[in-house]
């Protein structure tokens, strides 16, 4: 008899904060890492296009939660799409492709953040979100936050 989906998921190795950090700092050497209230926080800048400005972002991650990404500077336009109600970026649709603890922030969240910023600039230029969107009719997710059960300590 094979393993259930749940049992199989339990076998996957958890990538701890130190290992996440190692990968992030290797692939994005301009970022810095700090432990803050039990969470890992990586801060750095991303420049999605050659003529773009540099965006300063903070990525927060606590094991067993979703990573959160906040743009520190510049201030994003209030109407900017694809963000949670706390202003953090919605980089994936958790119901369709949930965050797993064996995933690497360096190969998922960080590249997606750069892409989000690129599409944000296109939205500023054209008024249209030209990136892939997932707007399922899940009212719980819309306007919610990435980690609804967590005490959300905002990174900045």
């Amino acid at each position: 008899m094979g393993l259930s989906k749940f049992e199989y998921s339990q076998l996957r190795p958890t990538v701890n904060l130190s290992l996440q950090s190692l990968h992030i700092l290797h692939r994005f050497p301009g970022f810095t890492y700090r432990r803050e209230r039990g969470a890992g926080v990586w801060r750095g800048t991303l420049q999605p296009r050659p003529l773009s400005q540099k965006y300063r972002v903070a990525i927060g991650y606590k094991l067993h939660c979703h990573p959160t990404v906040k743009v520190i500077t510049p201030t994003l336009l209030p109407k900017a799409p694809h963000r949670w109600s706390d202003g953090t970026l919605c980089l994936f649709y958790p119901k369709e492709s949930p965050w797993r603890q064996d995933m690497l922030i360096a190969t998922t969240i960080l590249p997606w953040t750069a892409l989000w910023l690129g599409y944000y600039e296109l939205w500023l230029d054209t008024g249209k979100w030209l990136g892939p969107s997932s707007h399922a009719s899940d009212r719980q997710l819309q306007g919610g936050c990435a980690n609804p059960d967590e005490d959300s300590k905002e990174v900045s």
Binding site: L46, K54, T107, E121, D125
Partner: protein, 360 residues
């Protein structure tokens, strides 16, 4: 603030020299070098010729019809050998045969009006010019070279290849925005001024000065940087407007430090300052407005509606497709790359769909 990155990208495409000129600037020099190297009457020193000017700088704006070419000759600048006057005549004699050798129709002339120290070869067929500047290069083209002065009386120091290398270094060091900014400044001059234009080299020297001074924050987008550059140049020299007489700025050569704008006519300088003042005010309004259409209209006043586009749907869609998660790559600084770069660290993006509150 609307940074209008796509619009600025399209503007830069619209003001770059035409493709056939870029190709001519690439194809002609090796043929010219071969012709000059073969000559027995006019001795040259290996590597004989070297491109200079806006094409190798990568800062050409508009239809740049002339390509500057250095011709390395043997000599001693301190002893004024060879005599620059005779040399320039000998070079002209040599270059008289160049259009025919290349199979083109054209002619050569000593350029006294414009570059003043070069032989000007015009190719009628492609409406293209090559400006040949003889030089003594004791340490090769990469070091300080000596070119004839304006009266062809003596040899004076110059460092054109050092300047090209400096621009390359600054471009790398300051987020890849130095050359685009230089191109915008030249186009601004070309668009706003039909006569009394300051020379490209002066603009380049001003750009280098302000980049090196650290007053420009190159982490900003190109629109902000352009405003800040105009503002910085204006503030650098506005006190001179209050001084009467013939005073005009001394712009130091970025490589050798001497005053390169010694012949800047006062009235020409004043015209340039008026254009700068207009430009920085319009740019400021473009950056302050929360109305995209208004921002575009202000930038069009600065750069021309024929160059700064109103619509960028096609370019935006093209970038959006290239950036698609799962297809694109991300550099270590966050640059979105459509394909694998030759150098540097990158990460392949994984597929995703952005979720969240729908835009209004």
């Amino acid at each position: 603030m609307f940074s209008l990155i796509t619009h600025f990208g399209e503007l830069l495409k619209n003001i770059r020299p035409p493709q056939h000129r870029i190709e001519a600037a690439q194809e002609l020099p090796p043929l010219v070098r071969e012709y000059i190297e073969r000559s027995k009457e006019f001795p040259t020193v290996a590597p004989h010729t070297r491109l200079a000017g806006s094409y190798p700088q990568g800062m050409g704006a508009g239809d740049v019809k002339d390509v500057d070419t250095l011709v390395r000759v043997p000599g001693d600048p301190k002893k004024n050998e060879p005599k620059a006057k005779q040399l320039i005549l000998n070079l002209k004699n040599l270059l008289d045969g160049l259009p025919e050798y290349l199979g083109y129709e054209g002619y050569s002339a000593i350029d006294i009006e414009r570059a003043r120290r070069s032989i000007h070869v015009y190719f009628k067929h492609n409406d293209f010019h090559l400006d040949f500047v003889p030089c003594i290069a004791p340490d090769g083209f990469e070091g300080i070279i000596y070119v004839p002065d304006r009266g062809f009386n003596e040899w004076i120091a110059s460092h054109p290849i050092g300047y090209i290398n400096l621009l390359d270094e600054l471009q790398k060091e300051y987020d890849g925005k130095v050359k685009p900014l230089g191109i915008l400044l030249k186009h601004f001059r070309n668009y706003q001024m039909k006569t009394r234009k300051p020379k490209s080299y002066w603009l380049g020297a001003l750009l280098v000065h302000h980049i090196r001074s650290g007053k420009l924050d190159t982490s900003q987008c190109l629109g902000v940087l352009f405003h800040d550059l105009l503002d910085a140049i204006y503030c650098q020299y506005d006190h001179l407007l209050w001084i009467g007489g013939d005073v005009s700025p001394n712009i130091p050569d970025p490589m050798l430090g001497h005053n390169v704008s010694w012949n800047w006519d006062r009235s020409h300088f004043e015209t340039f300052m008026r254009r700068l003042d207009d430009g920085r005010r319009w740019a400021s309004k473009a950056l302050e407005t929360d109305d995209r259409e208004k921002a575009i209209a202000y930038w069009q006043k600065i750069f021309g509606a024929e160059y700064f586009p109103s619509e960028v749907e096609a370019a935006a869609n093209s970038f959006a497709n290239a950036a698609f998660p799962g297809k694109s790559l991300i550099s270590s600084t966050g640059l979105i790359l459509p394909s694998q770069p030759c150098l540097g660290l990158y990460t392949a993006s994984q597929p995703t769909k952005f979720h969240g509150i729908e835009q209004v």
